[in-house]
């Protein structure tokens, strides 16, 4: 370890935030860029499964709440791209990596939204899991990322509550609505657990990230937290978690749960999820269709700057 690296690690161990202008190991920078941009991409792609129901929201109030949520997600994307940009990479470069398939986004968005209840399940389970992942990151070592996470978490907790509220209405509703809610829970439960990533035994690079304080808890710890938090909520809704092996362990004070189907996890990651192709295509199409628009704004700004300069020169 070089002297610089030693000092860097000391600052981290002392709980000092690293800022953009500070020296940092190249691997720390790269890991952060990967992690933050993947998070930003997830916010952007995450607009699509919800956008799929915004035009069909069942009441104007629900439509309004859902629109506001989608707007927040675009906003989160913006903060996060900005945080990544402090590390010396541009938003366009990050988007190019997304569009080429090189960069990842959360695999959960490769599942389809098949009923209105999915808007509830996504808020409750997916945003719920996201918060459990992100709350520790509010204390992570990189300043801009930590500050972005604080803003994001505040809004996400709203979203999770709104999602649970949708589930509540359905669970108290007609038999068809209750069935819709149960079906959504059945489809989103396991993918939500997979959001925390492979089990610790399989997880690569964790040790270094932990040392750098950009990963504060292990995947399995966070996953357990999600299960412990969610099972009683499901019970309150009168819905059944689709896991026959789920049971309360009074000694550990935790719920034990069944084996995750990692083959499915890897298949979706590899591109074989039900919607991988469509999600990416929708984003690429939006980007390509928008090229003339973005170019025009640049051209106009240049002309305008040119005009200003000419006016000055003439004066």
């Amino acid at each position: 370890m070089s002297e610089e690296e030693r000092l860097f690690q000391e600052r981290i161990d002392a709980g000092v935030k690293i800022e953009a202008k500070d020296w940092m190991p190249e691997a720390y920078r790269k890991t952060l860029i990967r992690q933050i941009s993947q998070h930003a991409h997830s916010e952007i792609v995450g607009q699509l499964p919800e956008g799929n129901w915004v035009t069909r929201a069942p009441t104007l109030k629900r439509k309004s709440i859902l629109l506001a949520k989608i707007q927040d997600e675009a906003g989160h994307g913006l903060y996060l791209y900005s945080a990544a940009e402090t590390l010396g990479v541009s938003r366009d470069e990050l988007l190019a990596a997304l569009h080429s398939g090189k960069a990842k986004y959360s695999s959960i968005f490769n599942y389809p939204t098949l009923s209105w209840a999915d808007m509830g399940a996504i808020g409750w389970l997916v945003d719920g899991s996201a918060i459990i992942n992100q709350i520790p990151l509010c204390r992570c070592s990189y300043g801009p990322y930590s500050r972005a996470m604080i803003r994001v978490c505040k809004e996400e907790s709203f979203h999770a509550r709104q999602g649970y509220d949708i589930m509540m209405s359905l669970a108290k509703g007609t038999p068809e609505q209750k069935a819709m809610a149960q079906d959504a829970l059945n489809r989103w439960w396991w993918p939500s657990l997979m959001m925390f990533g492979p089990s610790d035994a399989e997880s690569v690079n964790s040790a270094q990230s932990t040392q750098w304080r950009i990963k504060l808890f292990s995947n399995d710890e966070l996953r357990q937290r999600m299960v412990d938090q969610t099972v009683p909520q499901a019970e309150y809704l009168g819905l059944t978690i689709p896991d026959p092996d789920l049971k309360w362990n009074a000694e550990t004070g935790h719920y034990e749960f069944g084996e995750i189907d990692w083959a499915e996890f890897h298949a979706v990651l590899k591109g074989n999820g039900p919607c991988n192709r469509e999600r990416l295509r929708t984003r690429v199409k939006a980007w390509e269709d928008g090229e003339w628009f973005r170019e025009a704004l640049v051209a106009h700004a240049e002309k305008h700057a040119g005009k200003k300069a000419n006016t000055k020169a003439a004066a």
Partner: protein, 249 residues
């Protein structure tokens, strides 16, 4: 029930345009546009809810905002043809918005002086939003019209193609005239002149050619005779309320 009919027109315009914009969630040409589009969709939806709620109360048949939005078929929708036109390319989306926003801004401004207190209040609440909408869409029309050769062409084409849908809002029928007569709504001539002046200013700055003011104009939306597009929009929007009648969401 002229006032009920008038309120439906206001509510349906905002509702249908909001619906069109919300089709674009996550599909805008830049992240900032995604946010702005969703924001405008949200503002218009909020306004639609106020107009429809008031319309339902005035009607007194127990129809709330959702009953009016979700349980009327196309011929009972009273929005103008402009707002139901498909999104097209982004130049169309923006030009439709700019034509609408210009009228909407002057209308809402005038409605703050309406003799109907509730209408004046709703207009007052909406004024800041529609002011922002107009500034945004006018600004973008200028930047795209005076951007690249391509953006100029797209923008001009969008203007030419949408032009025939811009006259309907000024084509007053007995409902509109009844509202003018009692001071609820502003007269057409005044709004039309304001609209033409503003569009002409922005088009001038945008280096765009304004189509002739006396061109042939389509009509019918305000009376419930729509284009073929509206039926599809409603089939999608209303599906859940239709498929699960009486459910609470």
């Amino acid at each position: 029930m002229d006032k009920f009919a008038y309120l439906l027109r206001l509510g349906d315009n905002a509702l249908v345009l909001s619906q069109r914009l919300s089709e674009l969630c996550g599909k805008g040409p830049a992240l900032e546009e995604d946010m702005a589009l969703t924001n405008v969709a949200l503002d218009l939806l909020g306004q639609a809810r106020m107009w429809l709620t008031y319309a339902g109360e005035l009607e007194g048949q127990g129809r709330d905002e959702d009953a009016l939005a979700y349980l009327r078929d196309a011929h009972d929708f009273k929005n103008v043809l402009l707002v139901e036109q498909p999104n097209g390319n982004y130049a169309h989306t923006l030009m439709r918005q700019f034509f609408f926003d210009t009228w909407h801004y002057f209308l809402i401004g005038a409605l703050t002086q309406s003799t109907d207190r509730r209408i004046a209040e709703i207009a007052e609440k909406s004024l800041k939003e529609v002011t922002y909408h107009l500034r945004r869409s006018g600004d973008l029309v200028v930047r795209l019209g005076d951007g690249t050769e391509t953006s100029h062409r797209y923008t001009q084409t969008a203007a030419d193609e949408l032009w025939m849908y811009t006259g309907e809002v000024f084509n007053y029928d007995s409902v509109d005239e009844a509202m003018v007569a009692v001071g609820v709504a502003p007269p057409a001539a005044q709004l039309r002149q304001q609209w033409l002046d503003h569009v002409s200013d922005i088009f001038g700055e945008a280096t765009l050619t304004m189509p002739p003011a006396d061109a042939w104009m389509q009509k019918g939306g305000k009376q419930g005779r729509h284009s073929e597009h509206l039926g599809y929009l409603l089939a999608e929007m209303q599906f859940l309320q239709r498929a699960y009648p009486g459910a609470e969401w």
